[in-house]
Symmetry: C2
Subunit: 313 residues, 2 copies
């Protein structure tokens, strides 16, 4: 069964709440970038103030805008979290109920053998998979994409060419980040497998400890446990040190993209194509864009996992 | 047994790695704040450049500093993550081994009855509790405290009085955040309890589905499951909507503290006590301080939980 069709079926029953959540998230994106915009305008006007005191009205205006944006952010965040707090548990309960009815429509024979445990764990996977997909759509798509679009509008309104250059730099950064993230998967899998094995051996020796003691097997069991534990420790160490290296590569790319973007901004200011306030705005926005790009990269590399979880269930 | 003494005992065996981690974390704090400092100096010198082209050397110098700080951050992050990737699994394995030996020193009779399951789950709690404490010490103490101290040094070096005012504002903010966070606990507990109950009922009806069918109990069971599910949904909704409200309160406090700090910075610039570059630096650092304060607040309200987990185990 197609996962999107499955989710859409339930979304139709809850479309009002879903629309409120989407609207609140968009307002948050606007409010967050609006804060940076207002603040950069204040900073940008300050040097002018030393020459021309009439600018004070402008500064006060932008401080007011900053306060309004902070309030809008708080209000939109409240509406979002409140509605999501009502929405996701209700949405999951709809799915849970349908699964209950579907499962119990099967014949008695269907439940015999070890099916029961499988059904229970699959159901759990579907419900938690849906919550994960919700989180990924919110934090991996709506927020970073909304943020990226608003940032691009702000920078392009200062200078279109500069906006385009920064956009291209970030697309390159995104592609590199997705490539870097993809390589970690197999190590994480190994770590999880060996970790589970260690816990299993420990539990076994405890539950069968009378056997371990009675047959003087203690030293053998101890050696066995230590061996399994060592393999698990090595697998976790390998995963985490590899992860550290990929993170280092990512940070170097971040530094290169950030510096190149900053230099582009300074160069356009030097050409007198953008004002000083725009320089403050663009450089303040740069960090934000790059985190949006990182989040989209995360989404690309993690969505397939949750999708598989719901589909298999 | 005292948890700190317990952890210290193992720390003594791994003190070299622990020292490397601490040093790398401190370098990261310096590099992160150094980036903001370098960037603010560049922005601060730009308006001067229009009058005096000799300032270019200074601007290039600070861009170089920015690049160096970005590199230092990447390198320190790598050293930290690499060492922590070797350290935490090894540290946990030392604890795991000692528990294994201790458990098996008990007499056979000790293991009979339901002790085995309890020992296994307690051991799991201790090991995962230690990892949590490590995370909390890193993200709740070392990083925010290090960041706060470096930020305060930077702002105080611009103007001591201003630094003191911002420090006081943030202490107030911290106290309010801790107070707000404390109220969410009981709701989270309720949600977890009802959620587990729902899963339990679902699994019961599946495993005993032959009974459910044979005795025509299906409608009774369905009603029962729906009721339990409704209670769980309500508990989760209550927790999350309350959480949304506390978050709103927190955001309003954030806005008030942030605006008050910004106004203080502008006022000190107006009094000509700080330079324009200092204004850019202080306002850029403000967001960072407040997130450090939030993280310390999280630590205060969550540490007791992990501490209890290791102590009970």
């Amino acid at each position: 069964m197609n996962v999107f069709a499955f989710i859409l079926k339930y979304l139709r029953k809850t479309k009002f709440m879903a629309a409120v959540i989407l609207a609140a998230l968009i307002f948050r994106c606007i409010a967050e970038r609006g804060q940076i915009y207002a603040m950069s305008q204040v900073i940008g006007y300050l040097p002018k103030y030393t020459e021309d005191h009439a600018v004070l009205a402008q500064i006060v205006l932008f401080i007011g805008l900053l306060a309004a944006m902070l309030l809008l952010d708080a209000a939109a965040a409240y509406v979002w979290r409140y509605t999501a707090g009502k929405f996701t548990p209700y949405f999951c309960s709809l799915v849970y109920k349908d699964i209950f009815v579907q499962v119990h429509h099967h014949s008695i024979r269907f439940f015999n053998e070890e099916m029961a445990g499988k059904i229970a764990s699959k159901t759990k996977n579907i419900v938690s998979g849906i919550k994960e997909i919700y989180g990924q759509i919110v934090f991996g798509v709506i927020r970073p994409l909304g943020g990226l679009i608003i940032t691009m509008i702000l920078i392009c309104s200062a200078d279109f060419e500069l906006g385009f250059i920064i956009f291209l730099l970030n697309i390159m950064y995104l592609l590199i980040m997705v490539y870097i993230r993809k390589r970690i998967g197999s190590f994480a899998e190994k770590r999880a497998r060996f970790g589970a094995e260690t816990d299993g051996v420990f539990i076994d020796t405890v539950t069968n400890s009378d056997l371990v003691k009675s047959f003087a097997n203690y030293f053998y069991e101890k050696k066995h446990f230590y061996n399994v534990l060592r393999t698990a420790v090595k697998a976790e160490q390998t995963e985490r040190t590899k992860d550290a290296w990929f993170d280092f590569e990512g940070k170097i790319c971040f530094a290169a993209t950030y510096l190149a973007s900053c230099l582009a901004v300074f160069y356009y200011w030097y050409l007198q194509k953008i004002s000083f306030a725009d320089v403050v705005m663009a450089t303040s926005l740069l960090n934000g864009i790059m985190f949006d790009v990182i989040n989209i990269g995360f989404f690309v590399s993690e969505f397939s996992q949750s999708y598989g979880q719901v589909k298999d269930g």
